[in-house]
């Protein structure tokens, strides 16, 4: 796909706060953006390796907690009379910590869970998220349990000439989320259009054949999980500092389901699928709140999902792509063809 329409879309989104300075719309878009980042990360696993992680909120929650705890600092006993202490850190360090912690757990989960695949992997990921929720609820000294971590500082950025600026304003947070989302999109795009991405798709399409041409199964699945978990952790960190509170509910199944629905609606295994699905399910519930009560809306979404699965089983983006004339990489051209975006 040519990159031009994509960059036009980004430019339009970036200009939005200037054209339409509606604070409510911006905050809705910001939280939609955070979930779109989550959906982009889930898509790398679900769409490109074919492995369904139903515990994806685990990475999201790990990122939220890691970021919140790093920025608040902590002082806890770890047994044997020892204490682990961390003074409060700047938010950007929390953001990096979120990526590292989530990515680290992604590595661990990938190493352990990819001994089994398919349904067993799904079950293990669900358990993983539940265990983390239990830990968050019960390790009160560290996480405050159900009392939640409160009073998180907003994001801060170092800007040339102005020093460290805290992003209190809605439009600043919006731009930050947009920037991170674009970055995450590009990371996934680079991977997908590379030898690594082809290995992932090969494993998804035909594992036996993929192994016979020398593709190392665990190696590539773990790479995908680590990157996916790291991006989900980044989304969790943005979430924490956007709502300024983190409680054990970030590990709830509903967050995972939200991301899965976004990916499947938009089109799994396509770069734009999670963006399109995320915009639909991130914006509609809030924007239509005036028109219909949430309960009625959810019933309508249920019906819409069923219809979608029946008539566009591969999602919206592949359905639209099928209407467009096929683009073909010319012989000898060095540009990356898009054909990995086959279903």
């Amino acid at each position: 796909m040519s990159a031009v329409p994509g960059w036009c879309f980004v430019a339009a989104m970036a200009a939005l706060p200037l054209v339409l300075p509606d604070l409510y719309l911006l905050s809705v878009l910001t939280s939609a953006g955070i979930f779109i980042i989550g959906a982009i990360s889930l898509n790398l696993l679900l769409g490109y390796t074919g492995q369904l992680s139903l515990g994806h909120a685990a990475f999201f929650g790990l990122g939220a907690y890691a970021s919140a705890l790093a920025s608040l600092g902590f002082d806890i006993g770890i047994g044997f009379g020892l204490r682990l202490t961390l003074p409060p850190q700047p938010v950007w360090i929390g953001f990096l910590a979120a990526i590292a912690v989530a990515g680290g757990f992604g590595w661990l989960l990938g190493r352990l869970a990819f001994r089994v695949r398919g349904a067993y992997f799904v079950i293990i990921t669900i358990c993983f998220a539940q265990v983390l929720r239990m830990v968050a609820l019960n390790w009160v000294e560290l996480t405050q349990g159900p009392m939640a971590l409160i009073g998180l500082s907003p994001f801060s950025l170092w800007l040339p000439g102005q020093g460290v600026v805290e992003l209190y304003a809605k439009n600043q947070t919006y731009w930050l989320v947009l920037g991170v989302a674009v970055l995450c999109f590009l990371v996934v795009r680079q991977i997908v259009h590379s030898r690594v991405g082809r290995a992932l798709v090969a494993l998804r399409e035909n594992e036996t054949l993929a192994r016979s041409v020398g593709i190392r199964v665990t190696h590539y699945l773990v790479i995908a999980t680590v990157v996916s978990a790291g991006i989900a952790g980044a989304a969790g960190s943005l979430f924490a500092h956007n709502v300024r509170i983190v409680d054990p509910d970030v590990f709830l199944f509903i967050y995972t389901v939200t991301m899965v629905i976004m990916v499947i609606t938009g089109g799994k295994g396509t770069l734009w699928g999670p963006v399109v699905g995320g915009l639909i399910f991130g914006l509609l519930p809030d924007l239509l709140r005036g028109a219909a009560p949430p309960e009625a809306q959810w019933i309508a979404y249920g019906v819409a999902m069923i219809l979608l699965v029946m008539f566009l089983p591969r999602g919206i983006v592949p359905a639209i792509a099928a209407l467009m004339p096929a683009r073909r990489p010319g012989r000898g051209a060095t540009a990356s063809p898009v054909s990995q975006e086959a279903p």
Binding site: V187, Q190, I191, S194, R195, V196, G197, R198, A199, V201, A202, E205, N206, T208, L209, A210, R211, S212, V213, G214, I215, R216, V217, I223, V227, A326, R328, P329, R331, G332, A333, T334, S336, P337, S339, Q340, A342, P343
Partner: protein, 265 residues
């Protein structure tokens, strides 16, 4: 004293549940040869392939490739060592285009990892361009370049079989194992398939073949190893195998293709 063989299968025994699939299998393949493994259905040919390529673990015995023991190694490692197989049932990346199939099969010809992919370093870009060239060259070689944009599952059956061989041969393995490449092909497609195997051999690839089409086996092989009930009953050049009383006994009544092959050869 000849050079050490490229592949040597030594006293391999395989048991699947209570069934002895291979009782005692030993044979060698020298560099540059085309060797066929034949035998009635259930003789253990595909099992032998699975053992050699790491998809199945033998109960006993060794498989040496360039002196290195392959038993217990994963298929992807064995492929990286230079030994790649094709599959009996058509095996392609069905929903991807023919061109994508070729690029995926060239995995071992590249080295780009996560970092190279993310940063698009010059080395990664050069490699990408080279792999693209190699993919086209491979499609030219098997005559599928015109079908590059077609999803592999929409190819005609014969073309899918050829793509399957191309995928196995893509990374230029030293030893290529082909599991019934001509299965289900009509006579003209079989001739094409045979020509393709010859061209692969001429390119310097050593080939181990399992095939039921006796006319093809007799014409293409340098040596033939005959299996029956999990044992080698004969091994040698086609002319010898054709006259071997044990082989004739094993096949009589079993495979009607045998006599016609005999006549044709």
């Amino acid at each position: 004293m000849s050079a050490p063989p490229l592949l040597s299968v030594e006293q391999v025994a395989v048991q699947i549940g209570g069934l002895v699939a291979i009782a005692d299998l030993s044979f060698t393949v020298a560099e540059g040869e085309v060797v066929s493994l034949i035998g009635p259905n259930g003789a253990g040919k595909t099992t032998a392939f699975n053992v050699i390529t790491g998809y199945m673990r033998p109960r006993d015995g060794r498989v040496r490739f360039r002196g290195q023991d392959l038993v217990g190694q994963a298929p992807e490692r064995i492929a990286a060592a230079g030994l790649v197989r094709s599959f009996q049932r058509t095996s392609i990346f069905g929903r991807c285009t023919v061109f994508e199939n070729a690029r995926m099969a060239l995995h071992l010809r590249g080295r780009t990892g996560l970092l190279g992919a993310l940063l698009r370093l010059p080395a990664a870009r050069r490699e990408e361009a080279r792999l693209q060239e190699e993919a086209w060259a491979m499609l030219d070689f098997v005559g599928l370049a015109a079908r590059a944009d077609t999803p592999a599952e929409s190819l005609a059956y014969g073309e899918q079989r050829r793509l399957g061989i191309a995928l196995a041969a893509a990374a230029a393995p030293q030893l290529l194992l082909l599991d019934e490449p001509a299965a289900g092909l009509n006579p003209s497609e079989t001739a094409e398939c045979m020509a393709l195997i010859r061209r692969l051999r001429d390119r310097g690839t050593t080939i181990l073949l399992v095939e039921h089409d006796m006319a093809m086996v007799m014409r293409i092989s340098d040596r033939i190893v005959v299996l029956n009930q999990g044992r080698v009953i004969a091994a040698g050049p086609p002319a010898e195998i054709r006259e071997d009383p044990d082989v004739i006994r094993a096949y009589l009544g079993g495979a009607p293709g045998w006599e016609s092959a005999h006549a044709a050869a």
